[in-house]
Amino acid sequence: MKPSTPLMESLLGERGTRIFLSVLVATAVLVPVLHLTFDAGSPLHLSSYTMTLIGKYMTYALLAVAVDLVWGYCGILSLGHAAFFALGGYAMGMYLMRQIGTRGVYADPILPDFMVFLNWKELPWFWQGFDMFWFAALMVILVPGLLALLFGWLAFRSRVTGVYLSIITQALTYALMLAFFRNDMGFGGNNGLTDFKDILGFGINQPGTRVGLFVASAIALGLGYLACRYITLSRAGRVVQAIRDAESRTRFIGYRVESYKLWVFTFSAVLAGIAGALYVPQVGIINPSEFQPINSIEVVIWVAVGGRGTLYGAVAGAVIVNYAKSYFTAAVPEFWLYALGALFVLVTLFLPRGVVGLADRFTPGSREPVPEAAKA
């Protein structure tokens, strides 16, 4: 790819970014081709399993990029991003649920199955409109966005920072998890939403649809990445990093710290929501365990493993950790926790700047090691 404009040039003016984007484009093209053009017997065939897996990793990667933006660049350690991810997922899940129509086991034209057998008589108000894709798509953005906006507005306005902020984001996702677990809430309780049939009229298990979802994930990841990269390169990005390092000092030179934080937080929540929305049709289920506090912590860990404060590091971390998980749980199902645990310990001890830090070390001309700011 050849950078043509100055904007492109600066966006792509980083080796990691260029590598990441090339790999992404290659993947987005090659995987569908290998999947569709070769049949199952061929050695070149790429199974739908593998494609879906990579698609899933890409949505995780987008989530990781979102977390890296708030944490790596703005210093907001959000332990609640899984909640935004899950909310986006639920919005999409509700759409998919309503697409089932009469094809549910109880053949109710309106009510999803779980409502029928729990004896619900009519569709709750908050399920209205989700039969339309545009509405669901809007909700994918609005629900996480507005929640982040409200929550962030409350928190940043009162200058909640550091661990206090982390813990209340955690409380948020925990509360949402408990709420969504409740069957009375009308989101299918513990089972969540599943048994999807089609999306935009295409059968959800059709190879074509799968490819579509895969490519959509790749595009979302690419665009999300570039948007974040643009932000971090802009002056606003430097303000955001200044806030991370010395919040009150930033105030004294005239920046409205709260507004910047709120904006970054909200933007990042929207990205997380989009990631969740793409995740759900590919894995086929969304349920409250996605809100588990531990999930949010894991996202932070992906970012740390990859290398905090470099967007491509976040991507690398998400893919590496999740691939390791997929691989270990099958290859050494009885011992995989040792392997994963050891990975985390070793990366921390020996790769203080994450996996991409290792790569940079062998790259001449990279910035000198940055002693971490001592604050959370």
């Binding site: 199974s47 739908s48 399993y49 879906t52 897996l53 899933k56 009469t102 094809r103 549910g104 086991v105 109880y106 053949a107 109710d108 199955d113 779980f114 029928v116 057998f117 729990l118 004896n119 408990l178 677990f181 409740r182 069957n183 309780g189 513990n190 089972n191 969540g192 599943t194 048994d195 999807f196 049939k197 298990n205 894995v283 086929g284 289920i285 349920n287 365990s289 996605e290 998980k325 997929s326 749980t329 099958a330 199902p333 009885e334 995989w336 926790l337």
Partner: protein
């Protein structure tokens, strides 16, 4: 391939490992024994074990891996309903074969799944009958973990009790989250509810880890089985082996199998299990029996069909009979559920059960409950109707996810 691959999809880590690890071992033991007998269709069986880590989307991923990458002939797996729901589309899409060994809420019958655990009519209803008729219970606490299985079971029970003339004020329903650990208030409430002068019992669909603190609290608040018995549907020998059972003596459980039932089959199974696990104290339980039955049925069906082809095997499955471990016969019905005996046992101090009641004969599993308005018109029949949810009113088959 010169082996037949058998997938094992049980959580070995995370919250469900407590229950599921044993099932993995059970399947491995069955495979080992079958291989000693020469395998199936002249080929050895090869286990493919994965760990979905109590993570529901991971269940789907691992299921797909087993079916697509490892190309297993059959999968034994899942415990929670949500994990089953999560893998269901994967099995239907890839035309796999799943044996699901746990008692569950019913309301499902998939072409690709055989349900070897109890449907609600094979556990809950008989248990309530026993309490009502033999114990004279007049007041009911339905306590459960807040998820589909308890919700559905309690819906069914509530309808059933009301049909039997129990008044609304004599039913207390309570839901708690998974892993609920502070039972003080709820147990105190139960105590108060039970002190109104009528014989009271608790029907517990409390799941997994929450049981230990629940029973501890019962013991400490001195609620004895003689005053307010608790009959549980999710507490078996395995769960009791993690609890100090002395204070629980007399509380009840309803299952289709108890380790203490002394039949020759069961005795030899327990012996083999102890030998296989090299642990003479390892207990057996109901879902294990379900897996053993399921496994034997699958072997029989494969031998009958002379192939591992899923379509042929599923056809051959229906009507297959294998002995269960309590002296009866398990038969695979057209709705992919089994016939099962129902036992009520009282907890003993050693963590085993004394059977105090059992059904006369075998109860056929009912996929669609007759006590739920939405499902009483639905039928599952994979022989004549070729449908898992056929509506007898509209004469339509719905919810099929394949072809």
């Amino acid at each position: 391939a010169d082996t037949i691959k058998v997938g094992v999809l049980h959580s070995l880590s995370g919250t469900m490992a407590i229950s599921e690890t044993t099932l993995k071992d059970t399947v491995l033991m069955m495979i080992e024994q079958q291989n000693k007998k020469g395998g199936v269709l002249g080929k050895k069986l090869e286990a493919v074990v994965v760990d979905p880590a109590s993570n529901w989307p991971l269940f789907a991923e691992k299921a797909e891996q087993l079916l697509v990458k490892d190309k297993v002939a059959v999968v034994f797996g899942c415990w929670t309903s949500v994990s089953r729901k999560s893998v269901l589309p994967v099995f239907e899409k890839n035309n796999g074969l799943l044996f699901y060994p746990v008692q569950y809420e019913g309301e499902e019958s998939s072409k690709n799944v055989f349900y070897t655990g109890a449907a609600p009519n094979q556990q809950a209803i008989p248990a309530v009958d026993y309490l009502m008729k033999d114990i004279g219970v007049k007041r009911w606490v339905l306590a459960g973990t807040d998820y589909v299985y308890p919700r559905t079971t309690n819906k069914i029970l509530e309808a059933y009790l009301k049909a039997k003339g129990v008044k609304q004020e004599d039913i207390l329903i309570n839901y708690t989250p998974f892993g609920h650990s502070d039972w003080q208030s709820i147990v105190a409430d139960i105590k108060k509810f039970g002190s109104a002068g009528k014989k009271t019992a608790v029907v517990s669909t409390i799941n997994g880890d929450a049981n230990v603190p629940f029973y501890k609290e019962l013991g400490n608040q001195k609620i004895s089985a003689e005053d307010i018995p608790v009959v549980a549907f999710s507490v078996g020998e395995e769960e009791l082996s993690g609890i100090d059972t002395k204070p629980l003596v007399g509380h009840l459980a309803a299952w289709n199998y108890f380790e203490s039932i002394s039949t020759p089959v069961n005795k030899s199974f327990i012996k083999e299990w102890h030998a296989y696990t090299k642990n003479p104290k390892r207990v057996t339980n109901d879902p294990m029996e379900a897996h053993v039955i399921g496994f034997n049925m699958w072997v029989k069906a494969v031998e009958k069909a002379k192939t591992i082809d899923v379509a042929k095997v599923t056809d051959a499955m229906i009507g297959i009979e294998v002995p269960n471990m309590t002296g009866g016969t398990a038969k695979m019905l057209a709705n992919h559920h089994l016939t099962k005996p129902v036992f009520i046992g009282e907890i003993r101090a050693d963590g085993q059960f004394d059977v105090v009641w059992k059904t006369e004969g075998l109860v056929p599993g009912d996929a669609w409950s007759d006590y739920l308005p939405g499902s009483k018109d639905i039928e599952a029949d994979w022989v004549t109707l070729k449908c898992g949810n056929y509506n007898t009113k509209t004469k339509k088959c719905s919810g099929q996810n394949y072809e």
